[in-house]
Point group: D3
Chain length 286, copies 6
């Protein structure tokens, strides 16, 4: 007798009960202002993840032997109703947290982070945010809308407050956003300088890591809605991720891969590899 | 002294006051359930329209000499807030109607039709609809949402009532939708058979023509979110459009071109050519 | 508690025990002589199948309510070892047949048919073949190799013998192949003429239906390794498939979709739709 | 000892002395007004020609056994100097004619035809033209330029005179061009109707056949600079070519394939197949 | 009453009279020897410029508040007539200079620079050139043609003379070109080393800055006719541009973006961002 | 009288007898486990090589004047029969070696290296290997197959023995492969550090250089079957190649370019340029 066809991200096929980390996709891109398409990221990543290995020569660890990740597949989200989408992401994330597991979400556009952070910040009121991105995402509103990929970190700030958000790699935004960031957050423009100090400062504290992949230079990550030149290299991002290994990461997301804009598959391969490294950093058994 | 750079659909550069038809783009695709991207249709059509001629050998008429079309450019719509988008389309359309001009809208996903029909049906309570499409678009809701590209004709039916909607070319939907169509509308599956009779029947009445370009076979129109094989040929569509020439078309839209899915530009060229023929049919001076 | 992420072709998520038809992928393309890539067909079809409906307005039947199809996922095949690949396909097919279910295989290149037919012809010694294709596939060898996509029907002929193979739509091959076909098979060049007679003749007999999708014109199916102009239209193929409804189809495959050559996704959408119709034809007989 | 790498169109590797037909490429597209790229047609066609067979099941003839075609490769043309390009094409064509061979040229944009016709019409003063195209190409000038892809047939008319040019499939142009055609040429809009009569009329006379491949519908031939919907099908074109078999074709060209606009390779495959059929029609007359 | 649809590069919608800088497109690529397509650069850049911000975090300046740029749209140029094209560019540039404004031209292939420099060097006889490029562009002729993208800087040298041209980033050419450059110009191969010294030396002098974007590595700028590996990074280019801020730039062009070769849009986004920075450098000097 | 159309890699058109280096293509990719397509590398490289120059400003040498390279074209290999393919490559390579020429092979997938090394190691029993790659390629078997692109260096090790293989740039593999490499080979992960020492050590010894182009970062080389982020830059590779200039290279291959995955042509341009540099390094006349 045959089993139904199970598809997971490579090496993430553990049982739910045994899993410490729960991976899921949030295929939503309705507020994207330039080029939509991130809704397909999680599906394409599962398929193409078999082009990379489960073993990391950077960490000398393997997804199969050194982690316990369960892949729940994708949420089914009602495109066009932003409020409801965020509620569904929040509810799903809360369930994972209730089972004492750590949620790792694959976007979708960056706004999906708000749904997850709503749930995570309820469980961890002292939540700190590490945010890698090309864009500030700190607008008060976008064409009058408060819920947008361009406002998501501003909404997160309303939840966690001043001096909790640490932004890196930012190289695009309105002047007002940079001013806001300087007043309320830690911001390091253009690269990841200062990350080590932030990691030290956050030792022992609950941290949510949100990775907008467009922090990468579009040379290595063209498959995104809004390519923004001048980003960090893959090695810089990899080293940044590895430097998080001592942190208490209680939630995480990887977002803004839009596969249709990169027919070479490189962007997806990059996303898969960095997710592997994140999972190994987060979950490596003691 | 130089003038600012004006960009219009080819041959549609008349002054507003002189214009009988007002062309505008509604770049919105937030409720698209499969592959988004129609938001770029109007912009790409303006650019590529210069690959076709203003003269139609089918009608022996020319956009430059035989029509008065004003191209207003694109609305700036708040992605992700479906309600507001429809209100803005409705308001813009109402303004055009108030000036006794005929609105021709380039979508965008098919839901934009609802905004336009709300305005048009207020001015013309006895409004009839001619609807070319691959899909019924008659769902009561889609994943719980009443406003969706998959429900738009159902919402239009709520405005105009029974026996006002005439559907052609339909070849995809849920069984319930076909049942609904048979009870409340005129529906002709798969092709445009029966169009002539409908045209005769609607002589003198106000008609809104909504053209979902995926009624075309994807061989000639692959650049759309949901390609559905078995559609009509370009010649069938062209003849269908030409057969509308006697009607009193008081509003019109052309939607669901998604240029990113057709790198050859053929789909855009098709959309441009059929829009040229529609404009010539609608507006040819007496 | 959450379930593992199950991915099936749309509407094909029945339990194995209840299923009458078993769908599986054979991702193999090592002997492809021109452009490889068909190995990705089954995976991409599962993902994109959610762009079509489960309901067929052509047959007024629905995959969910009118069929019992189990999707077993893809075989893991050793690229480059053609002999072994065929053995694995044969063994897997034989298991399905042993459980009194009907195998439906998604290729892969056309050679995968040989593995399946080896198993099916053992169970059904009087097996007849219906073969839609652009190419004869009747070479004795290709560059000295007897196992090749270009020789597959010749190898099948060695299994089933004279006057068992019925070829339609053929428009490419060497002269010798056409001569061979005329002597040993039924062949109808260029289109499906004569299919009705063949269907009548095969009433009650066990039939294997092998559909090389490049029988379609490349206008509607460009996503294949060897596009060959002058093919049949989607409607002709659809009608051909519908005409098989009275037959006793004991095995089937759909092959030669190569998604990478069609960025529009049209070819995949075509393959999904025709597979839906085949499944409805095959399985809705009770 | 090894030979240098010779690349020819499939089956066209005969020696020059033995050859009756000489194939060559004219990679020029400098006057293209919309999307350039036809310069790569001949090179890509040689490479992809190995995806088709040398045998035609339509004519039951084979390029290897039934023709003597020499492939001279491509001219090296100075882009941007239109005058000189035409002179070089004319000189090269004249050399072929001097050796009593028939030139078959692969464009390039349609203007290359003028260079060839200059040479051919000198040798055959009573030259007749058969012209398949989507566009009239009859402008007096284009943005003030008399030498342009949009004026080429007007320039040819200046060489051959009234009632010598027979145009088919035309569906785009300015009104004045259609008027000119009606007065000076034979023109059949939209399709190939009337071709049989023309063929009868031209029996025994020297004929130059110029095939702008955009006469095909862009569904089957998207890889061209100016896709124009509503064209003829591949079968119509094939039948048109086959109907020329009785004519005395003294020169020929196939132009306007622009491979970069069709990633599927279908357009190139179409061009290769139709060129095979043309060569078989032209050369198998002894 | 509605206004006609005005399309400009983002933030460049000032009135002509108020403008200090006039932006315009020169869509010409007829002499391109490898892959044409740069004619679409300016149009695509205007459309995609809305994917970047008007604010530069590098310069803390904003196109809206800190510059006065007028976008005149594109010239309409007769493809294939190189002489005339250069005359039209020269005349248009001269008009801008006559109005005491600074021309910034978007190519097009690199030859368009010659038209602009003809006009600029007449007004500023002591003109100096800063030239970023992958290629020397110093051939005496190309296939016998003196006017070519491969000869443009040689032609410029004939206008401005020895020791006026400063070439950076050059990594491709014939040996003779490098020899010529060493004798007549300043040349720095492979990167921008020495730019600072050149900037110091040119303080107060009239400078024309011509940026062939293929100076960038094709990893970040694949969308160009002749990708040449080993180029400078975006950051190097950005810093190079910022270092020009003290100069008296009296004319400028940005050329050789060919959007069709980069479906990801990254190359266009790069071109837009670097143009923003150039405009801010040039114009924010008061 | 005209000559047949000869196509070679740019500047590699010397006569066989005079040639010191023989270039040939091995278009084979049947064991590729992820995305096939490398079979087209050699053909596409010949065509696109005319986009680069024959002169290297890095080495101040020119393919035309400073090398004697004969391009033999491509082998015709039976896809799907891995054993036979390797035999044919071995035999062809042996012939070149028998004529005292140096073979330079363009893959195909990396397994083709095994065929060449079989021949070269017979002539040079003390053969050393320099191997640039993203992947270890050291598996004992892949899905039970001993002949695979993933096992090729393991098979080469069986021929040449311990401490003969020098691996650089490796960043992907199973843990066991890295362990094996550390025990039997020299391996430097992630980059080319240590190459200088290896070059010194191998002075005077026969060296086979196998370059899997995916050692490059996919930002500059996306056109490959298995993109693996974190690779070396083009400059690093170029410098690595230049550092080999003192070595006695008795055989070489460049493999794993898969053009279909990079529509920009950048990957092909990179492969062409690095091949030019390799040929100049190998063959520069004394």
């Amino acid at each position: 007798m045959l089993n139904k066809n199970v598809e997971t991200f490579i090496g993430c096929d553990k049982d739910y009960l045994a899993a410490k980390v729960v991976l899921f996709g949030a295929p939503f891109d309705s507020t994207t202002s330039f080029r939509p398409g991130t809704r397909f990221a999680s599906k394409v990543m599962r398929g193409d993840s078999f082009g990379i290995e489960t073993y990391s020569p950077y960490q000398d660890k393997d997804l199969v032997t050194d982690t316990n990740v369960f892949d729940a597949g994708d949420l089914e989200l009602p495109f066009g109703n932003t409020q409801r989408v965020l509620q569904e992401i929040e509810a799903f994330t809360a369930n994972i947290l209730d089972d004492d597991k750590v949620p790792v979400m694959i976007g979708g556009e960056h706004l999906v982070t708000l749904g997850a952070v709503r749930a995570v910040s309820k469980k961890y009121p002292d939540l700190h945010i590490i945010h890698f991105d090309a864009h500030t995402d700190l607008r008060e509103d976008y064409l009058g809308e408060s819920l947008s990929h361009a406002t998501v970190i501003r909404r997160v700030w309303e939840l966690v407050g001043d001096d909790k958000i640490n932004q890196f790699g930012i190289r695009s935004g309105e002047k007002e956003e940079f001013v806001f960031a300087a007043e309320h957050n830690f911001i390091n423009k253009f690269n990841l300088h200062g990350l080590e100090d932030v990691v030290k400062k956050l030792a022992g504290k609950p941290v949510y890591f949100t990775l907008d992949l467009d922090v990468l230079d579009p040379s290595i990550f063209p498959g995104t809605g809004t390519p923004e030149a001048g980003g960090i290299s893959f090695s810089e991002l990899l080293n940044g991720v590895l430097s998080l290994s001592g942190l208490n990461i209680v939630g995480c997301d990887v977002n803004e891969l839009s596969p249709v804009y990169d027919h070479s598959g490189t962007s997806t391969a990059v996303a898969c590899k960095i997710l592997r490294e994140i999972l190994l950093v987060m979950e490596a058994r003691a």
